[in-house]
Amino acid sequence: MTALIIYLLIGAGLFLFLLVMARRKNTPVEGCGEEFVQARHALRALQLGLLPANLVERIFDRGDFEYVTAESSREICKLFLAERKRISLIWVGRVRGEIRNLMHFHLGYSRFQSKLSLRTELRLALDFVLLLFACRTLQLWLYLRGPYSAPAMVGIAAGAAARVCRISEQSLAFLNPVASDSFQNDSTTGGAAV
């Protein structure tokens, strides 16, 4: 009887172990759809929602600040600066978040399946690290000095993020060429190609 209980406990333990292993998120599995979809969402959010040049220009446009300074009272200038600071912090925070999502995808899945060259892999890894660092520095800078304090850094961060997106696009295309083709077909009806 005791032996039976021991065997049952061992069996239950093994079952639990398998269950935990199967649920591990960072296990590279062929055709991991959820991760693919998440990475595609991150890429779309960056390319269509956060990095379009006209949006970045609008957020950090000095012309608006000059207009408010010339046309309004000091209270409105303060309100304007507080609002733009809030928006710029949301922007940089979201760029950083989406870049982290893409990096997670590359670390966990893409490198096992896509056919990026070693040089591209290394360049991408360096870009990710530098970009995350730049975003964090920019976040701190915008928080302390306001939205118009680091236009060059904004440009560099946006440019590097766009470069990472281009490489990730390649990587996602290699992952699932059939799905990628169908997305491109969809994009002819008004959406953007990813």
């Binding site: 929602g49 608006d64 809030r86």
Partner: protein
């Protein structure tokens, strides 16, 4: 609506809407408010009787949604100066006085429901923030009409 024939229908409906209706509403802000008013808040679907009669319910709904998104994007890309100008014109065209208009818009924030579905949250935040500042600028002008108008003589300072 992925069927090419249906898509053609939507494009025709969009062109018709632009030519017959939206051509008479030149400002993106006015277009945004008008198009959002054609949306049923319970279903999120757009309705336009005339357009639906000429085309189909579905095509008219998609055409209105497309134009709504376009107006939103145009407004997001507008400078603050342009937005203040558009808001002033919209207020002037409304039946209310400027002070009533500003009071109602500041308190009720009706522009929040004018954001199209699926709009990027950052773009929406930027537009809402700009509208808030534009309203504050208009309010200042209402209280002190000399602010913002070119003048040869020095202006009295609002800040003491």
């Amino acid at each position: 609506m992925s069927n090419p024939a249906k898509r053609k229908d939507v494009m025709a409906a969009t062109q018709d809407l632009r030519r017959r209706t939206l051509a008479h509403i030149p400002q993106p802000l006015e277009r945004l408010i008008y198009l959002s008013s054609t949306r049923d808040y319970n279903t999120g679907l757009y309705r336009h009787e005339g357009l639906a009669l000429r085309f189909s319910e579905e095509a008219s709904c998609e055409a209105l949604a497309d134009c709504h998104r376009d107006a939103f994007n145009e407004l997001v890309a507008a400078s603050l100066q342009d937005l203040v100008h558009q808001l002033k014109r919209y207020a002037d065209n409304s039946k209310a006085s400027l002070s009533e208009f500003i009071g109602a818009w500041r308190e009720l924030e009706p522009y929040r429901v004018a954001i199209p579905a699926g709009a990027d949250s950052l773009s929406s935040e930027l537009l809402l923030s700009n509208l808030k500042i534009a309203l504050a600028i208009l309010e200042t002008r209402l209280m002190a009409p000399w602010v913002g108008k070119p003048s040869a003589s020095p202006r009295p300072s609002l800040v003491r």
